[in-house]
Symmetry: C2
Subunit: 454 residues, 2 copies
């Protein structure tokens, strides 16, 4: 890592998350001098490993890769980061109406009428999603009507059972870390299409949660950064970007860099916190006013061993009651120590985010105990990450479109402004919001910059 | 106005709009030393006069006061700014289904079934609005369901005629400068209750558009600032606020001021663009990510005389076709020159905001010609203000709550953070979004700061 910022570069990249690092790699491979300016004292953005002793790590940020995430899998291969399957052997648990049930596979043993209700809703979501062009969702045949309602409204009007509504709400919370009230139906459809189908989003085997990365997902960013060496400048939050003629000057707390183009690879809501001269066009600015981060607190309890495995349980659980609604076995590849991962998402994250860590730990471990028995009550350690508290992320998993945004402001999402280009998982048209989308967005931004610079 | 920032003050006020200036006045009256830091080279925020020759002005920002806006009227009296009635003599014009109709009073001569449909919707909006506590909208009995849907969804489900839907959409655009898809039903209800009733919002005589201010509305801010003298520091955009122990340091492009408290009196979306140390709590930050400005371009055509008056027309017009959907006679008090004021609001502002000024002028004047005849085709001058382009406002009339925001984040809207207090029209519980609300919020913030400082 460099001590001093260079005064000049061919391209400045703002943000050393996966998108920024991949863009830098591609530009450097074409012989361009790149300066990455990262606000934090680390790389990886929403990818972050936490040490849990004995050299073992858990991921407190994004962590999974799925079978159709070709660019993420290719990058892992390139960087020699191996994948391993998310633990999924044995029975899953579902808690509904105060009752626990064990089941195998993707479909819980609940009332068939509820399953049918969920099934028809999911069928319709997938069918509508296929009609949404991922590069221009506002061109979907029914874009106006789909973007004028919340996902909550759609669920209420297109399901008949209370349990199906609760489970669909839980699925929305799990995928977007947001309440169905927070997000436009059109955004749900766009995002679903960008991943393939709703099952691709929510699935473990065959879906977005199928595999994990050995050494933790941040390893991708750490290895990319190691290859890039002095190009990466940490603790350099960018405050201002000036465009004059064919030059761009990016000013940070550690000084300014002049370049011929810049790639801003941070969440859209944080793009609004940089001062631009000339100021951003109205459409771009209003877009960044409206795209807001979801809310998630990722909570992990560490046990001597994954005791649930011996009881024939996968560690995967779904609870309509909450506040932890989704649980996974997040133990390291060798199964030692045992780690249960619980998500507080959307309103649960906002509400419990105001509690003390101790009270939150009590609530989370209480859920684990309800789902997996008394052995879950006494973890040896507890690790959590509240992404909305992070000054340089301000929420997770990503920025969402509330109603009305895609249709009237969406065209400003990827459109460069002069010599400023936008990257990050939110700008992806395939696997939007995921590591795979972030990588694709970095690749696309690098290609656009190379074309502009000639 | 001061040349140099003081290094210390009792209180720093960020923003010299009406809220900030009123707070400063109240604090100064109690003997406190106040430094106002204003980003622009002028005071008034969303109040702005434009010169149209001969010493005459038109208001290109907020301009009206209504009979129940007691604090705004009291401030005008105190500052010796007189009011005069919005011109409302003669017939209004409504354009619907490609047809022009003249009518007197508040109720246009359109299909009675449509009028009844609008009437029942308005009755229900008012009834629901009364159930929303303006100091805590999330405590309304049906807050969850009301905040989980857009105003678009509510209109679709609670009207039966296409024309009523179009006219209610037009009313939403006129009051919030937003499409019904952009805004939560609960926010509409809160805002309606804060003003009194839906008629209070949309009315001219007896409503929020009843009166204007002689010399233009910005006169209020200009006179307040003149009284405050050296306390007001212009061209000092605030970039950073640090709280340490019992001190607050506010840093701007013109230097830093240390104080014992600060009042941030700018729109919530712009609050997010200041860097805070320590960083804002998650709830407050996520709130400012979600509250987004409406979109409006205020367009005025200036004629030698208000020719429409001679034809028995008030100059007030409503057009479902648009793009100008609402028109007023905005001539100076003596009726010379004649000024037609047309609003481009919500999607119309966003779409036409991307055109050249010439093309936009053509569209606006084209609407005036359709509504008022050939004499409207050749104005001697054209004045417009696109608020979303303004770096230090970024939209108008104010910041809106998209669905899901009031219920899960609303409690952070007015809650001070240590020694930081929030003011501005968006924080008002009475006449939220109006000059009157801004004044009340400034008064309330000053009271809270005085209580804190003791």
């Amino acid at each position: 890592m460099a001590d001093k910022l260079p005064s000049e570069a061919d391209v400045v990249v703002v943000g050393a998350g996966l998108a920024g690092l991949v863009a830098t790699r591609d530009l450097a491979a074409q012989g361009r001098a790149v300066a990455v300016l990262e606000a934090r004292d680390r790389v990886g953005g929403r990818l972050l490993n936490a040490q849990i002793g004995d050299g073992k790590v858990v991921e407190v940020g994004g962590q999974w890769v799925g079978p159709t995430q070709h660019r993420a899998l290719a990058l892992a291969r390139e960087l020699e980061v191996e994948t391993f399957p998310t633990y999924a052997e044995g029975d899953n648990v579902v808690e509904l109406g105060g009752r626990l049930r064990r089941y195998r596979g993707a479909i819980p043993k609940i009332n068939p009428a509820v399953l049918a209700d969920i099934g028809q809703a999911q069928f319709r979501i997938d069918r509508m999603a296929r009609a949404v062009p991922t590069e221009a969702p506002w061109r979907a045949p029914r874009a106006e009507a789909w973007d004028a309602q919340t996902m909550w409204t759609w669920i209420r009007r297109n399901t008949v059972t209370q349990a199906a509504r609760a489970i669909l709400q839980l699925a929305v919370e799990a995928v977007w870390a947001a309440h169905p009230a927070d997000v436009s139906l059109l955004h749900v459809l766009f995002y679903t299409h960008s991943a393939g189908s709703f099952d691709d989003l929510i699935g473990t085997e065959g879906g977005a949660q199928q595999d994990r990365l050995v050494g933790g997902s941040q390893e991708l960013a750490l290895r990319l950064a190691a290859h890039l060496g002095d190009s990466v400048n940490l603790s350099a939050p960018v405050r201002r970007i000036e465009q004059r003629g064919d030059s761009v000057t990016v000013s940070s707390d550690r000084g300014a860099v002049r370049a011929r183009a810049a790639i801003v690879a941070i969440p859209p809501t944080l793009c609004a916190r940089i001062a631009y001269d000339p100021p951003m066009p109205a459409l771009r600015d209003q877009l960044t006013q409206r795209m807001a981060q979801g809310s998630v607190i990722k909570c992990m309890a560490v046990y001597d061993a994954p005791f649930w495995r011996a009881e024939g349980l996968s560690g995967q659980a779904t609870s309509v009651e909450g506040p932890v609604k989704i649980v996974f076995d997040n133990s390291p590849p060798d199964g030692s120590p045992g780690v249960l991962l619980g998500f507080l998402e959307g309103r649960q994250a906002r509400e419990l985010g105001q509690w003390t860590e101790e009270a939150r730990r009590g609530a989370v471990v209480g859920c684990f105990k309800r789902l997996f028995g008394a052995a879950a009550a006494s973890p040896q350690a507890y690790v959590e990450q509240a992404w909305a508290e992070e000054e340089f992320t301000r929420g997770c998993y990503g920025c969402l479109m509330p109603p009305g945004t895609w249709v009237s402001l969406g065209s400003a999402l990827r459109e460069p402004v002069g010599r400023l280009h936008w990257a990050g998982a939110e700008t992806a048209t395939t696997w939007n919001g995921y590591m795979d989308g972030a990588i694709r967005s970095g690749e696309a931004a690098a290609t656009a910059v190379l074309a502009q610079l000639g």
